[in-house]
């Protein structure tokens, strides 16, 4: 099925290019580094309009080389095509917009519809969104396009603790309002949810991303109940944007064929995110922190924690912004990402000592942007990770060099 979709999209692309004059492809001049609210990320993408057609297309790709090792053991040189993503949007009619994002990973082995929703605008404060929705938990989940970031890897807390990119089928409302330097936005959705795999998986830890493997979530919720996602965000021109978000609901299959097979078990996720560009130095700061609470049977293995927390902080400093190597608005940036994740917050019942299973990472970066839609980035990762018993941490380090661009 994936191959059929891939071939269809490939054919569509070829056909589109064969049928129209390239001069009719009008690029929208989006600068991916400029910010509205984080929730605008799906709109803040460069699209090509197909002449007078209401359909716009776009996308991005990410490719890397990396050489990473853990205490003397390395996979050697790794050349990776992380992903290619296609956007298709359409202004269907007055106040009706359709947007979608289809991602190809592992050379097309994994094809995922990450976002496909219809937005109906009733009022700037009241818009209906329905379809496949990226749940607004933290900031990264909705704002994950590779070219926007100075780091080859996505934040560990966002992908290995939170399940970015996490999308589910559902409906909800969103809206925004402005007043002088202030901007306020909200989102509220009811969607399908997680499933038992978050505490029964091949990671041997509570692992929300495990539910991403369950494509049935686009058809039915494993628990038969709704997952609630809500976010409120405030931006001030001088102080930046702060977002508070929640995602929660029953995650497990507690009834089967009308018969009770387990207790209802709940998952709650809280997150705070922040981003700002300091006016004087153009220093860009962004980060998020999330707390996860999962109801786990008390007779279950302690490898699966009922509390997790973690997050990241990116600091990016442009050091040269001018015409370079023939590119008019090129920039050279230094950056650093700080990350921490604790997959199992708590103490062992038997000893009272802290449970480990945590990680920290520091990743200095240098990036070059010939345009704001394309980035070349060189990172070095310094990471230490402890196992569940809090044994001496494993040290990981290495380089990654990558490029990412909208197209």
């Amino acid at each position: 099925m994936k191959k059929v979709i891939f071939l269809f999209l490939l054919l569509l692309t070829v056909t589109v290019h064969a049928q129209i004059d390239a001069s009719l492809l009008q690029g929208t001049k989006k600068d991916s580094t400029l910010k509205g609210l984080n929730m605008d990320a799906v709109y803040d993408r460069p699209f090509l309009n197909l002449g007078k057609s209401p359909v716009s297309v776009g996308g991005y790709m990410e490719a890397n080389w990396q050489y990473i090792g853990t205490e003397g053991i390395t996979e050697g040189h790794e050349f990776q095509m992380r992903r290619m993503t296609l956007f298709i949007s359409s202004s269907i009619g007055k106040k009706l917009k359709f947007m979608s994002e289809i991602e190809f990973e592992e050379g097309g082995n994994e094809i995922v519809i990450e976002f496909a929703s219809l937005d109906v605008e009733f009022h700037p404060l009241i818009n209906l969104r329905g379809g496949i929705i990226m749940n607004p938990i933290g900031a990264f989940n909705q704002n994950h396009d590779g070219p926007k970031w100075e780091f080859t890897d996505r934040p560990i807390s966002a992908t290995q603790m939170l399940p970015a990119t996490w999308s589910t089928a559902g409906f909800g409302l969103f809206g925004k309002t402005y007043k002088k330097d202030w901007m306020l936005g909200y989102e509220f959705y009811l969607t399908g949810g997680f499933d038992n795999t978050i505490i029964d998986n091949d990671q041997n830890k509570t692992y929300l991303p495990a539910s991403k493997a369950n494509s049935a979530r686009f058809e039915e919720s494993a628990s038969g109940t709704a997952l609630t996602s809500a976010k409120i965000a405030v931006r001030n021109t001088n102080f930046g944007e702060i977002g508070l978000s929640f995602m929660g609901g029953i995650y497990n299959t507690f009834e089967d064929d009308g018969e009770e097979v387990d207790e209802k078990r709940r998952l709650n996720v809280f997150a705070v995110d922040y981003n700002h560009t300091l006016p004087k130095w153009k220093t860009f700061i962004t980060g998020e922190w999330a707390w996860i609470n999962v109801d786990i049977p008390n007779y279950y293995t302690q490898h699966y924690g009922n509390k997790q927390h973690g997050g990241f902080l990116d600091i990016v400093q442009p050091i040269i912004s001018k015409k370079m190597l023939g590119w008019e608005n090129a920039s050279l940036n230094l950056g650093c990402r700080l990350e921490y994740v604790d997959w199992n917050v708590g103490t062992f019942k038997e000893t009272g000592y802290n449970i480990g299973d945590h990680l920290w990472s520091v990743m200095p970066a240098i990036s070059f942007r010939p345009t704001q839609q394309t980035v070349f980035r060189l990172n070095y990762r310094i990471q230490q990770q402890s196992d569940v018993h809090d044994n001496p941490a494993e040290k990981t380090g290495g380089f990654s060099l990558g490029l990412s661009t909208y197209f």
């Binding site: 080389w65 050489y67 990473i68 090792g69 853990t70 205490e71 003397g72 053991i73 390395t74 040189h77 038992n196 795999t197 505490i199 029964d200 998986n201 091949d202 990671q203 041997n204 497990n252 097979v261 387990d262 078990r265 049977p297 007779y299 279950y300 293995t301 302690q302 490898h303 370079m324 190597l325 023939g326 062992f348 019942k349 038997e350 000893t351 000592y353 480990g356 060189l378 070095y380 196992d387 569940v388 018993h389 809090d390 044994n391 001496p392 040290k395 990981t396 380090g397 290495g398 380089f399 060099l401």
Partner: protein
């Protein structure tokens, strides 16, 4: 011109990074600081099988989708034997229901092993009323291949059931029947159709195949063709792991290197080694053994230093939990190999959890818990001066 130079410099910089990136990676710990890794002398095919076993042991994590449980103790091998080292109280297992050599009277109630964890929706086992039990922390698994190929004759030669030499130390093998899938070694010695068992805290396991099959079945609820009985239903079910994987794990356990002693030139360590012999610790914790023939050449006819005699010894009332296995008395425990002792904290969260259930929080505490046949050695230790005690501990930490 300047732009070209900058571009060339950047490309050279990137080239240098790519060309020398190994120099920027975290260093590998010294071999002697690690318990894991293959023994020397394996050929390419054996190394490949070692890696297959390594993957199964350290990377394969079980869940309901690949056979876990529904009743279990742990979800993987590595969750109990991190870095192939000892486990902690949080990864311990409980066995119950046998008080003497007549067998386990609680098999119909889930004995001998308690599956105290269960998949969501299932109810884990509890210890039946009236059953005595003992808690076992996971042992280190390195060097087991050497222990496997010590001949029965050598083990028997060390036994002194009637203490004929009058040193207060007897030592007996654990004689027991074989499981149906176990094939005895060619040089096996039998007594009343029973065989000498050597693995496990009570020396109740014959060989590494039995240990591996049992661990999959009893610890993780993973059935195999060797043991297809599901611990939840008590019925034979389809195998959840292949015979080949079991064989690979057995090979991995056989060919894990023996722990490498450290600081052997340190005078304190050398003095401690002398004291170890003087106070008769070495009578049971035998410093040197040798293997007989082994199908793996690297294990054949080798001398090694495990600090065990593979025999059962009466350890006194304080370590008598009222539970036993095979032909052992409830107060009898197999001499624990001491090799790798100093590396225990690396797999025990930076702390020591010693003796069969981890109750000793230091090496000294472990020594002081010795009783029975080891009472005399313990008393001699108590009588040592502080510096001698320090030297002895330092020697034990060097193993």
């Amino acid at each position: 011109m300047i732009k070209s130079k900058i571009t060339i410099l950047n490309l050279i910089l990137i080239g240098l990074i790519i060309g020398s990136c190994n120099d920027f990676l975290p260093l590998e710990p010294m071999e002697s600081e690690l318990l894991d890794g293959p023994m020397e002398g394996l050929n390419h095919a054996q190394t490949a099988q070692f890696i297959s076993g390594d993957v199964a042991f350290n990377d394969e994590l079980f869940h309901s989708g690949n056979g876990l449980g529904p009743l279990f103790v742990a979800t993987s091998c590595v969750s109990c034997h991190a870095g192939d080292g000892k486990g902690l109280p949080s990864t311990s297992l409980t066995r119950f229901g046998q008080v003497d050599s007549t067998g386990n009277k609680f098999l119909h109630l889930g004995g001998p092993q308690l599956q105290n964890r269960a998949l969501p929706g299932y109810t884990p086992e509890t210890i039946p009323e009236g059953a005595t039990y003992s808690v076992f922390t996971p042992p280190a698994v390195t060097g087991l291949g050497f222990l496997q190929y010590v001949t029965d004759a050598d083990i028997l030669a060390l036994a002194d059931p009637d203490d004929l030499d009058g040193d207060g130390i007897s030592g007996v093998p654990n004689w027991d029947y074989l499981r149906d899938f176990v094939i005895p070694s060619p040089d096996a010695i039998t007594k009343d159709r029973k065989y000498i068992h050597r693995f496990g805290k009570k020396a109740s396991v014959y060989d590494l195949l039995e240990q591996t099959v049992d661990a999959y079945n009893q610890d993780m609820g993973i059935t195999s063709l060797f043991d297809p009985i599901d611990t939840y239903s008590g019925l034979a079910v389809d195998p959840e792991i292949s015979k080949q994987t079991i064989r690979d794990v057995v090979f991995y356990l056989e060919t894990l290197k023996a722990p490498i002693p450290r600081n052997q030139e340190d005078p304190q360590v050398q003095n401690g080694k002398n004291i170890f012999s003087q106070i008769q610790c070495a009578s049971c914790h035998l410093p040197e053994m040798k293997t007989g023939y082994a199908p793996i050449e690297a294990l054949s006819y080798k001398t090694f230093h495990p600090y065990t005699d593979l025999l059962l010894h009466d350890m006194g009332t304080e370590l008598d939990d009222g539970y036993t296995e095979g032909g052992a008395l409830t107060s009898e425990w197999r001499t624990a190999p001491l090799w790798g002792l100093g590396l225990s904290p690396d797999s025990q969260g930076g702390k020591y959890y010693l003796m069969h259930d981890g109750r000793a929080r230091s090496i000294e505490e472990a020594i002081l818990l010795h009783g029975g046949e080891a009472e005399n050695s313990k008393n001699q230790y108590v009588g040592l001066g502080q510096s001698e005690k320090d030297d002895l501990i330092k020697f034990l930490e060097s193993l």
